[in-house]
Symmetry: C2
Subunit: 211 residues, 2 copies
């Protein structure tokens, strides 16, 4: 008996599963969900399907695990930033945006899949288990977005930002940042720090009152 989702068990015995997961994330990132075949993932692993289906029951299960892990990673990163209530809201938003942009450029594989996760058309005739996993992912996305919305609301109250609907204001912020994975490709010379800084400044200024 093998668990169908890797998120329950940890420990050294699950190292094999993580290898599969990372390989899958890489291919999903490049070709998307439907265009990726299980054989493609196996090829990256230098093995065959058997290895993959030993750990996962279906292609959709792998995808859902990639999505979930990526969102868990983002949530763990934004929480400490959001909790720094001593920092003014604009500085907090700057830090959050900078973090998000950096993750987009570094944790390329997993995070990119999470963004491109629009391809959840596996939702339709999926099983109950998968629907729940997908709903959990959507809930996490909402929670993550809410962190940004809360910071925006704080900034508006403090008079630092324009008076906008916080939830709506979070859209162009995350849009500008998520879009990074549509054009950014890792290169020797590409200065991740500078890009992250510039983009963070952009979204913070975007909310400031029009001079």
């Amino acid at each position: 008996m093998v668990m169908q989702s890797g998120l329950g068990r940890r420990g050294p015995a699950e190292a094999g599963r993580m290898e599969v997961l990372n390989a899958a994330a890489t291919v999903f990132m490049e070709r998307g969900f439907t265009a990726t075949s299980v054989d493609d993932i196996a090829e990256v692993l230098g093995s065959t399907k058997g290895r993959i289906y030993h750990y996962y029951r279906s292609k959709a299960d792998i995808f859902l695990d990639v999505l979930t892990l990526a969102m868990l990673d983002l949530l763990e990163r934004i929480r400490p930033i959001a909790e720094q209530r001593d920092l003014p809201p604009d500085a907090r938003l700057h830090a959050a945006a900078r973090m998000h942009a950096t993750v987009m450029m570094t944790q390329s594989a997993r995070s990119r899949v999470a963004v491109q996760g629009t391809e959840m058309h596996l939702m339709q005739e999926a099983g109950a288990k998968q629907r729940r996993a997908l709903q959990a992912f959507v809930d996490m996305r909402d929670e993550y977005e809410q962190y940004f919305a809360d910071i925006v609301a704080d900034g508006t109250r403090a008079g630092l930002f324009r008076d906008v609907a916080p939830r709506l204001a979070a859209k162009p912020i995350l849009g500008a940042l998520n879009w990074i994975n549509m054009w950014y490709r890792p290169r020797p010379g590409s200065d991740i720090e500078n890009i992250a800084e510039e983009f963070a400044t952009f979204v913070v200024n975007g909310l400031r009152p029009t001079g």
Copy 2:
């Protein structure tokens, strides 16, 4: 003999082709390229495959036509805005962003496909014709982006914007705007005008000097 690309001929005889094109755009928008079957498109048309393959030689050809038409539409819309040299750069950027946001929310089908056009993995082992069409699309995307970059450069020279690399600055702008089609869904009550105005203000302010 039937032409393989609809962009050469016009006139009433091509009405049938346009029907196919619009239906395809709708389905491509919802499910993406690979997840869309030709039978799906036919079902939307209330007909069968035969009708589609009467006008197009392959699924990729349809997709490329959708992409091309969407980009032609955007280019036609931004040119008159970019040419208004009497307007200050920030007002021009505001108008351009507002236009783009509005198109994202109204011309949903075609434009959304164009944005999501990342799925050009049909490029790989595609024929020479398709590679040229795809390259043409990429060139148009670049040209479109360049309009924004030029406006940004003008604004920087005028002291209205921060001193940023124009080409890089165009990325978060178009990211914030393109991202709209990831979350916006047409609704009776959704106020397109307000959203477009708010997003345009956001991207313009994003470039202003930090007060």
